[in-house]
């Protein structure tokens, strides 16, 4: 999921920065239009910390292992703050641990951040069940959490498959990439359940955290 330096050609890295720049601009514009743009910063900062450490939690899915990403959760809870949060989290992961890379920061941010934004809009559909429906919140929390991660895995797969360099054995590499993408299916279930639990918990103890986002999209 975190594509390191030296894997992608320069043109793709540049393209990634362009899309990440566009998504950041869109998100910041939405944040700027809020009544109090600072209001969401504390929770965005805390969830960035969660995103930052989540990638250390590895789940073995033979023959490989995958790690938590939580981009769906960030999207659902943070709304338009999700993209900058993921961008900052990825920046620190790349600088501190070479997890991902600085040249691929734009690509990685796009791969994980855009599905997070889409997960947020998907989660808003829970309103068709009524504002306080626990079933709707749980169901769409699961769908958003699983869908955000699933879409990110598919995007990463497409980017990697289409840029396999000539000097490696294409068949082996392609098989490896497909296997890794499929390994994210169990992780989708795990993150979906986790996201559903978190939003149900928030709805019970502090519904304003989820309500706050609803106002933005209006």
């Amino acid at each position: 999921m975190h594509i390191p330096d030296g894997i992608l050609p320069a043109a793709v890295c540049l393209g990634g920065y362009v899309t990440a720049g566009a998504a950041t601009w869109y998100s910041l514009r939405k944040i700027g239009r809020k009544e109090d743009p600072r209001e969401g910063i504390p929770k965005a900062s805390l969830l960035t910390a969660a995103f930052f450490v989540a990638s250390w939690i590895h789940i073995p899915v033979p023959p490989t292992s995958v790690h938590l990403v939580l981009n769906g959760l960030l999207g659902v809870v943070l709304g338009c703050y999700a993209f900058p949060a993921i961008l900052i989290g990825l920046f620190f992961q790349a600088v501190m641990f070479q997890h991902g890379g600085l040249t691929t920061l734009g690509v990685n941010a796009t791969i994980m951040g855009v599905p997070a934004l889409l997960a947020y809009y998907l989660f808003q559909l829970r309103n068709i069940f009524g504002k306080d429906s626990r079933v709707g919140t749980g169901l769409f929390g699961f769908l958003a959490g699983a869908g955000g991660l699933g879409l990110a895995a598919v995007l990463a797969c497409v980017v990697l498959i289409t840029t396999i360099p000539a000097h490696v054995d294409v068949e082996t590499e392609r098989a490896g990439i497909y296997a890794l993408t499929l390994a994210h299916v169990p992780l989708m279930v795990i993150e979906g359940i986790f996201t559903a639990l978190v939003v149900l918990f928030l709805q019970r103890v502090k519904p304003a955290l989820l309500e706050g986002n609803r106002e933005i999209s209006a």
């Binding site: 894997i7 600072r38 900062s45 000097h167 054995d169 590499e173």
Partner: protein, 147 residues
Amino acid sequence: MKGKLLATLLILFLSIPAAASAHGAKISYQITKAIEITATYDTGEPLSGGQVTIYAPDNPSTPWRKAKCDENGKYIFIPDPSKPGTWDVQVRQAGHGDMIHIPIGEGTAEAASGSTGYTPLQIVLMAACVVWGFVGTTLFFARRRGS
């Protein structure tokens, strides 16, 4: 006619030892410096079967050799001693991978080793510092909002 045949046979017999000597084997040995690389994920799990691409110092754009790691993520190669400089070794598997730069030359120590990673203690300390930065940001903005 008979004499000619005998002569031919004689030549044949005489030439046998010469032909047999071509089957003699000769082995020589030379102790040389090889480089063993070990590729693992952050979790310590090996990149078994990872694709190794080696670039010689004189041509950093065309691979000098392409190979695969064994099941323990290890690969051994002998760099060409006539090409001192920095050898770049890239290991890649399913979009994961890293590149290590190995200096080889006159001044290289007999048994050198290098790595691109950090120790667990360093990782924990660094992660703690970053997390504290995020928590500090949270506290700062939460306070400003309250006042």
